[in-house]
């Protein structure tokens, strides 16, 4: 290690969701789903651009989504979409200072008011809704 090293925790520490409760897990999932959706968005533009190859090209490509792998991929996209949207609304409210508690004289054991049940409920709702949407999606896709 260089003597002038800043000793930053690095990407490993930033992405480690284990130590700081559900809020840090939500932070991590938000990044992961944001990047996943970005990846999907690029792939989606590429996929839909197949229409330029005419009906045959389009249908050939679309057939990929009708496979088991395609269904699993789409299920993941549904989950990412729902979690990212619901948690995104929670994060936007939080960033606007909504539901983060009021300043008050802290007392032992100093539980932070910003890490409150309302925001935790928001995170759990995002996870549960994503799971329900994924199950519904699977039922539709695999139930054909």
């Amino acid at each position: 290690m260089n003597p002038h090293d800043e000793h930053k925790e690095g990407i490993g520490g930033m992405a480690n969701p284990g130590r700081y409760g559900i809020e840090r897990v939500a932070y991590w999932l938000m990044r992961l789903t944001g990047l996943g959706l970005l990846g999907y968005f690029v792939a989606h533009i590429y996929e839909t651009s197949n229409i330029l190859k005419g009906r045959v090209g389009w249908e050939e490509f679309l057939a990929l989504t009708q496979t088991t792998e395609g269904h699993i991929f789409m299920t993941l996209v549904i989950g990412m979409c729902v979690f990212h949207t619901v948690n995104g609304i929670r994060v936007m409210l939080g960033h606007g200072g909504v539901g983060v508690g009021k300043p008050a004289r802290p007392d032992y054991p100093y539980l932070p008011a910003s890490q409150n049940a309302r925001h935790k409920m928001g995170i759990y709702s995002a996870i549960v809704l994503a799971a329900v949407a994924m199950m519904y999606g699977m039922a539709v896709m695999f139930g054909e």
């Binding site: 700081y20 932070y27 994060v91 200072g97 300043p103 932070p112 008011a113 910003s114």
Partner: protein, 251 residues
Amino acid sequence: MAQSYEIDEKKSLTSKVVTLRIARFNPEKDSDTKFMEFIVNVEKWTTVLEAILDVKQHFDHSVAVRYSCRQATCGSCGMVINGKPRLACFTKVSELQSEVVTVEPMHNFPIIRDLTVRFDRLFNTHHKVKPYLIRDDSEITSNTKEFLQSPEELEQFIQFSNCIKCGLCNSACPTMATDSSFVGPQALAQAYRYVADSRDKGKDTRLKIIDESHGIWRCHFAGSCSQVCPKGVDPAMGIQLLRGYMLGFRS
């Protein structure tokens, strides 16, 4: 260097044995951190700092650790204890519920030696947000001889003036983990402390300072800062309230 040493001077009928693993690193000499293990006897009330001081007293005096008040007031003994930033004097070994206690220097602070880190960046970012009342007159020149404030006005910021500059929040923050220029939760919480003070007139100046690319907008509300703060400052709350104000959600 992962040797094991036993100190049994503190053995008693109620004591328990734990392994204390101390990170040893001297940036001027070593290429890597090595852990030294010590077998220590602790009571229910023994703090991690006391265990480290036992090691210094009975076995290896060269372990570098910074401490002063031993009562969570000076903010000197922040370190990573079993993976999380905590004050060594404010953490009992028993509350960790582990037979092994690993102590490492705080992340996101350059290491001086072993458990001791440099605070230059924290003090600079703290100073950057102008942590003092900004106004043209002074208490001496005003007619009342002091700037009056109601108890309600005091409640708006008193929580945030509990900050002891221990740096635990900056060590836990996921943005600090990768961004060398981020102003950090400690300084942002202090920006809120002064913006929310009814005696202060420096709001615009202060908001301009934190409204930059490595300023307040880098906070993603992960809340880890608030979870590790030993004084209940809740930097995450201050930051969101400040941002709500800047975005026009709050007045």
